[in-house]
């Protein structure tokens, strides 16, 4: 399936529209803030439209994962090709984009969150131009990761996000922003180095025979890496169940675990969230964390099915620990944002547990949870942002009785809260359900312990609601305005999705069902 707009593939459009926006933003004069904002809004808005088109035209039945033929909207151009010289085979790096059931939902999520992020960035007044330029660059990086099928490209997009994020936290963040920014940077950078090394090891272990010339070509093509037949004899990562393959898996896993973030690689997250400005928190929790689990599914699982199976208990256990640990830590926080940050750790633990089940329910649940959590935390961070804008406070004990002051806002925020709590009828429940169902099939006790997390979650969420929204209003907070239309605008699409997917998740699930089923079979078949 191909879809071209002006002769350029839709995926290229959706990835690079923000870059176009960034260039326009950079060319606009500093003073013209509204033009800058509108440019960003239009660029991300176009992305949403394109995501809608992709959603409409996406063929639900195609498998993807390891089969190049069944990827959709594919674009493949030779990017860097160096002809063979006597001592080394041909080098080939492709500009290779394509999506399957695994990525399509993430694309929709990214475009949506990016758009909403722009709306919630509207009241940022400091260095507007720089802010939106970096923001748009960040969006391109995120989107790129989800569509890249060439490891090299994947890596570039992956690392492109690093610097904008560093600056966005570090320049527009809270009082301890530098600390948070550098911590984020270092963590992710460490992961990046691990991924780089693994990527190179893979590159040199994989060579496919070019049907046209008969040459053996080393390649960064992720799909080629999934085929055991493509591994060269004696390559570092050739074979099955070798120590090096385990090491490589682990290196990648740590990289992704940092992004997810999985216990014990999570400590950057609370700091980053607390310090980041609201829209960046939204992006961070809404999309960036998903990159980790997406990477696991896109790269770790299909390329190293043997190592995946070998380490899967370990992974599930880490998921379990994250769920419980994150929930307890969330309960212990006094800071609203920190609480949500820890709840993200807990909820992303569910994703990990779900995908670690290595069965279709679990995977579907996990991926759906990625999407749902993205939407839910976005709502939560936006709610904090709304309060913070009005009061400049984030401490849970600083509030009270907001429900009487701002009933509309409270209603919206509560829906987000309840969704986070896993209330049936809202989307969080559906994905948690399938994640746990899948996990339970694979690991009884781990799952049972994990499910206790939902009790703790209920505990801290309700406690938060009680402290912030219920009770009597403190004297200082009696003059709060209820939310403005702009703020409503950023909540509404998310809330609608929360309810819609809670009641009828099938449109989301059918997007990925066949791909993920195929992935499960693929792993259990040892990559055959």
């Amino acid at each position: 399936m191909e879809l071209n707009i002006f002769g350029i593939g839709i995926l290229t459009w959706i990835v690079f529209i923000p870059i176009v926006g960034m260039i326009i933003v950079l060319l606009l004069p500093d003073k013209n803030r509204n033009a800058i904002r509108w440019t960003a809004a239009v660029a991300t808005g176009i992305q949403v439209v394109l995501a809608g088109i992709i959603f409409a035209f996406f063929d639900r039945a195609k498998l993807g994962i390891n089969d190049a033929e069944s990827f959709q909207f594919m674009e493949k151009f030779s990017w860097i090709t160096v002809e063979a010289v006597p001592w080394v085979g041909r080098i080939e790096i492709n500009y290779f984009l394509g999506i399957d059931g695994l990525s399509v939902l993430m694309i929709i999520l990214t475009s949506l969150i990016a758009f909403i992020g722009v709306i919630s960035s509207w009241n940022i007044d400091k260095m507007v131009k720089g802010y939106f330029a970096l923001y748009l660059l960040l969006v391109t990086g995120m989107m790129g990761v989800f569509v890249a099928l060439d490891f090299f490209l994947f890596f570039i997009f992956w690392e492109v996000m690093l610097l904008p994020m560093y600056f966005l936290i570090g320049l527009w963040g809270g009082p301890r922003r530098e600390y948070a920014a550098i911590k984020f940077f270092i963590y992710t950078f460490v992961g990046g180095i691990l991924m780089l090394l693994t990527m190179l090891a893979l590159y040199f272990s994989v060579a496919y025979t070019d049907p046209a010339t008969g040459q053996s070509v080393h390649t960064f093509n992720i799909l080629h890496m999934m085929n055991p037949a493509n591994y060269v004899d004696g390559g570092l990562l050739s074979g099955v169940d070798t120590t090096w393959r385990y090491v490589a898996w682990m290196a990648l896993f740590i990289n992704f675990a940092i992004k997810i973030p999985l216990f014990p690689f999570h400590t950057w997250l609370p700091d980053a969230h607390v310090e980041a400005p609201t829209p960046i928190s939204v992006i961070l929790a809404g999309v960036l964390l998903k990159l980790g689990t997406y990477g696991l599914l896109r790269i770790n699982f299909p390329i190293f099915p043997d190592a995946t199976v070998y380490f899967i208990y370990f992974m599930a256990a880490l998921g379990m620990i994250s769920i419980i640990y994150g929930a307890f830590c969330a309960m212990a926080q006094d800071d609203f944002k920190k609480l949500i940050a820890y709840s993200s750790i807990s909820h992303m633990g569910i994703v990990v547990l779900g995908i670690a089940a290595l069965n279709t329910q679990g995977m579907v649940g996990g991926v759906l949870q990625m999407f749902n959590h993205g939407i839910i935390t976005a709502v939560l961070f936006l709610s904090v942002g709304v309060l913070y804008d009005r009061t400049k406070k984030r401490g849970l004990y600083d509030f009270g009785g907001i429900a009487t002051q701002m009933p509309k806002y409270t209603g919206l925020a509560m829906i987000g809260m309840f969704a986070a709590l896993g209330l049936p009828g809202l989307n969080g429940f559906v994905s948690e359900l399938f994640s746990f169902l899948g996990a339970f099939e694979a690991y009884k006790w781990i799952t049972i312990i994990s499910v206790t997390g939902i009790i703790i979650t209920a505990g801290y969420i309700l406690w938060t609601i009680q402290r912030v929204y219920l009770g009597k209003t403190p004297e200082k907070l009696t003059d709060l305005k209820d939310i403005t239309p702009r703020e409503v605008l950023m909540f509404v699409p998310l809330i609608v999705l929360i309810i819609l997917l809670g009641i009828y998740p099938a449109p989301a699930i059918e997007l990925m069902n066949s791909s993920l089923s195929h992935l499960v079979e693929f792993i259990h078949g040892g990559g055959m």
Binding site: W79, I80, V82, W87, E159, I193, L200
Partner: protein, 496 residues
């Protein structure tokens, strides 16, 4: 004999152009008044002409001057790099405020500079131990003086003195090693040496000792641990243009020589397989030695850089560290490794020069070399700030900058050759390097400039130079095929 000489001369045009340039500068220095700019432009055009001839001669594979030197793609590659560096540094010199107080001496400055360029170009092509040593000395002696060019400065004088003592001893030791090598192989030509070694040398111990001693001299030039001590002091003391020249050009030339010497002399010619991997002469594990040195260099360079506050000194340690990364390519002992060295050097040239250049601009305008005092500079000089950020990011090795591609190739080559531990060290030290690079960025941006400190404006030429450095750094990050092909095609060395 004469024909050969004449023919050789026709193939040695770039060097000859430089000699001619040197002479013109001497004359111009005597004749002209207000000569600074003119001489700079004379030198620029000399370099450009030399570059022109280099490019014209590209592709030729010839042994010239009775085996003293070679003209081959390998040499061409390095000459191109050297001339680019030279051109940039001349441009820097025009802009450098440090040199303003020495206008009467700028003639000498450019003479020595030209001499140094000449020496370095000769280093890239030399295939005879004598010429190698001689070329090295030409480059060194000019650089000793250049390092002390700003005579009024105590630091500069000290730097020159330390440099020359260190250099003299190192070259002395190297010469001793050369004498032993010549004694062992009874040859001065590196191909003849290889023949002798391949035929089987009984005096293995002697050979080892001689190579070690030669390494002291080359290691000094490249500034690899443990022969690096001079570098930070000299970089800090020398005028920043010269520091840049030493950090980039000097290193490139020395690498050219080192690679040629090692890959021609000390390998088992019979073992040169079709895959491009080669092995050193039996019983000698040069790669292990070099690997150890590379690892040490990366560790020491990066760790020490952490604590520096002077930007020149920090860049000195960073360039030491980079020498470590580059050395990995040699450790691998394969054409792949050498290709990656060449790619690395190509990119390193732009990013490191860029960093030095912005440091110089800041020194010109803000009058500081201290990283601590960079606070808020990013807001005051947006273009330079962004540029420095990109250069530093590239030095760190993050995509989508050239530095990433450079590291990618080095790491990749090492992994494919199975040097996992070395890559691990490289990876860890890369992470460490992030700290000191990012610290500069953080100081530039995360602080508000003083209220009264206004914006820093630069003139068009300064900006043009900056852009000229910036574009390749970004471009090579995204589309590096030309560099890649250039490097691969330049792998051809005379006789190999």
């Amino acid at each position: 004999m004469v024909e050969n000489t004449l023919y050789s001369i026709s193939l040695y045009l770039p060097e000859i152009v430089l000699v001619v340039t040197l002479c013109i500068i001497i004359v111009a220095d005597l004749v002209l008044k207000n000569k600074e700019q003119v001489i700079a432009w004379i030198m620029l055009s000399g370099l450009a002409t030399a570059g022109f001839f280099v490019i014209i001669q590209a592709g030729t594979v010839e042994n010239i001057f009775f085996g003293m030197a070679a003209l081959d793609p390998f040499a061409t590659f390095f000459k191109v790099l050297l001339i680019i560096t030279g051109i940039f540094v001349v441009l820097f010199s025009i802009k450098n405020r440090e040199l303003e107080g020495y206008s009467s001496r700028m003639g000498e400055y450019y003479m020595l500079f030209t001499g140094m360029m000449l020496g370095m170009l000769m280093m890239a092509g030399a295939t005879n131990l004598l010429l190698m040593f001689l070329a090295l000395e030409i480059a060194s002696i000019s650089s000793y003086v250049l390092a002390g060019f700003t005579k009024r400065s105590l630091r500069s004088s000290e730097a020159a003195m330390k440099y020359i003592i260190y250099g003299a001893v190192s070259s002395g030791v190297m010469l001793y090693g050369i004498s032993l090598l010549i004694g062992v192989t009874a040859a001065t030509d590196i191909y003849a040496i290889n023949d002798a070694i391949s035929a089987g040398v009984e005096q293995t111990m002697m050979l080892n000792i001689s190579v070690l001693m030669i390494l002291v001299g080359l290691g000094f030039k490249i500034a690899v641990v443990p022969f690096h001590f001079w570098a930070p002091d000299v970089y800090e003391g020398a005028p920043i243009t010269i520091a840049a020249l030493l950090a980039v050009a000097s290193k490139i030339a020395a690498f050219a020589m080192l690679i040629r010497l090692f890959s021609v002399s000390f390998i088992d010619a019979s073992g040169l397989s079709a895959t491009g991997t080669w092995s050193s002469v039996e019983g000698i594990h040069w790669n292990l030695l070099l690997g150890g040195m590379a690892a040490l260099t990366m560790i020491v360079g990066n760790l020490t850089a952490l604590r520096q506050d002077n930007i020149k000194r920090m860049l000195a340690y960073s360039s030491i560290a980079h020498a470590g990364y580059i050395l990995i390519g040699l450790v691998i002992m394969s054409s792949e490794g050498l290709t990656s060295i060449m790619i690395y050097l190509f990119i390193y040239l732009f990013m490191n020069l860029g960093a030095f250049y912005v440091a110089m601009l800041f020194m010109n305008k803000a009058g500081t070399e201290s990283i601590e005092e960079y606070k808020g500079l990013g807001h005051r000089a947006p273009l330079a700030g962004v540029a420095l950020t990109i250069f530093l990011v590239s030095l760190t090795g993050l995509p989508p900058t050239g530095g990433f591609v450079a590291k990618l190739y080095i790491f990749g080559a090492a992994i494919s050759a199975g040097w996992i531990w070395l890559v691990a060290v490289a990876g860890i030290t890369t992470i460490i390097s992030l700290f000191y690079y990012i610290r500069v960025v953080r100081n530039m941006y995360f602080f508000k400039p003083d209220e009264d400190a206004g914006r820093i404006e630069f003139d068009t030429l300064s900006k043009a130079i900056l852009i000229a450095l910036l574009v390749p750094v970004l471009l090579t990050g995204l589309y590096f095929q030309p560099v890649l092909e250039f490097a691969r095609n330049s792998m051809l060395m005379f006789g190999f």
